[in-house]
Amino acid sequence: MFSKKISHALVEGDKNFGQISDELLSNVESKPALWWYAGLTLGAIFLAIGGWAFYMTLSQGIGTWGLTNSVAWGWDVINFVWWIGIGHAGTAFTIFFLVFRQKWAGSINRSAEAMTVFAVMCAGLFPLIHMGRPWLAFFIMPYPNTRLLWVNYNSALFWDVLAISTYLIMSVTLWYLGMVPDLATIANRTKNKLRKTIYGIFSLGWNGSLYTYNRYETLLKLLGGLAAPLVISVHTIVSLNFAISVLPGWHATILPPYFFVGAIFSGFAMVLTLMILMRKVFNISDYITPKHLDNIAQVLKYSSLIIALAYATEIFIAWYSGVTYEIYTFFNARATGSFSTAFWIMVFCNAVVPQVFWWEKARKNLLILFAASILINIGMWFERFVILVSSLAEDFLPSSWTPYQPAMVDIGIFVGTFGLFIVGMLLFVRFIPVIAVNEVKPISRIGKNINPKSEKDEL
């Protein structure tokens, strides 16, 4: 449809296919470095802290958290929304770029999807333990139970359960199907019998037949098309949990698009953080080129503008509505009152910091990119904090206003999810190629001067 020439190389250096396999499979085929074990230890320590917090929650109840009667949603829901936002970018990467034929995303989508899978797992943990009795979690599934009851289809909380489980299942499916040819490559290259067997089982007998490839690509496009509205629906439904209620600051129609863009924004920031780290430790800077980082930075810049617009719209509508409570929440509680520090951190990190990417120099500077990506993640955490806590802690009745402090157990659970994420990502980089080898090979010659494909045009 569009025959615009891609002017820059998507993969740097003049490599043949064998070299590409060698370079991209080196993380799986060689022994891990010291930093890998160090990271795994750190992740395990975090997980242990999380385990303790989890045990405290289960054995003594939600009372161990910092929640109060007014602030019934605290760090648990903040962290849930934060993680699920991060979990957005991976599948957004694959799907939107698949649909729009953005070939440069080929070398990023595998790790972005891995990030999605682990982030959504971390996110899913919070509503689960927030139930208090997670062993009864299956009550939320519509099944003919002993009380003859069905679930409430009108509840946004039920939609959320369905949306997140659907999203997780679809993301894992896309992620796994995408890596089947690479697993087959590993199984064929390895000499180790055990590895051959395990990778062989997971590669489903893939043999690189073009007939299979034809169906496979159709399936991936189909799943991508199916999951694209899902990406939008997940965070939209998360926002409806808030927007359907009547609290000032939550009861707004802008929340669904605002949450969605926020999710893409924070997810891309996390992708940027991970990509900068990965290209350093795995020597894959030929595949994740400065142009890739530049592109991600551009996405961050524009989504930051949308976020800033959403902030401004919220404040304007609060003033324009003339509702005392809305005005209080935005102008007193958030901008100048008890939550002003968090509010201004949020504005600075999300609306101001990414504007640095208007300068090409900043988009090329790894240090600035890395710092900005971390700041954005912090800013997005504070955004959720501001939305949740400021509306709950100071709502209609001043007599029921309560300050909110997280308890040690809250912090422990959050640290635990970092442990889960770190361990998950480290296992991923150890056993699965971090870049989709079969997707990078066909794009490795795009934008090169020596282009054998030019022969194709003569035919």
Partner: protein, 170 residues
């Protein structure tokens, strides 16, 4: 019946496409092409478009009807429960559930159909002309043809790195 297949080995997808077009023009029987990735131009020329999307559409329609029946049965017939005065049959909220269920079930059924049609399953032995087909070479495998010598010549002419004759059991 086992017989020797002529196999053209290529290390460049552009040359492979050239060879494929030449063979096709001369009416050779091509069995399959094995390689580390699918070149899109080659794939378009080689294989007919997959009909999976049509089947998925059928799955989607069936899921919507089935899920709507389920929601209607549970919320209106089996145990109508008054949630804050909303009607038992509140279609707007059902839309969200229908939407998500349709994606989930259609996606799942499409994957199952794909695995069934391509006969991929865990533990299946991967059969290919050479393990390098997963790494850095393309293998154009021909079926029985009446003019094997011509075919070998054409393959060589269009830049095949090597031309093999090999019995394969798949």
């Amino acid at each position: 019946m086992s017989y020797k297949h002529i196999i053209g080995v290529f290390d460049d997808e552009a040359l492979l496409l050239k060879a494929f077009r030449k063979l096709k023009k001369n009416g050779a029987n091509i069995k399959d092409i094995y390689g580390p990735f699918a070149d899109h131009d080659l794939m378009k020329a080689f294989a007919p478009e997959s009909r999976l999307p049509y089947l998925s559409f059928v799955f989607a329609v069936m899921t919507i009807i089935g899920a709507f029946g389920f929601l209607y049965y549970t919320a209106v017939i089996d145990y109508p429960l008054n949630y804050s005065g909303k009607p038992y049959f509140s279609f707007p909220s059902m839309v969200v559930v229908l939407f998500l269920l349709t994606i989930l079930v259609t996606g799942g059924l499409s994957v199952v159909t794909f695995l069934g049609r391509t006969q991929l399953f865990p533990g299946k032995e991967a059969k290919m002309p050479d393990p390098q087909a997963m790494d850095n070479r393309f293998y154009l495998v021909l079926d029985q043809n009446f003019n094997p010598e011509d075919i070998k010549k054409w393959l060589k002419e269009s830049g095949a790195e090597d031309v093999l004759e090999k019995e394969i059991d798949f």
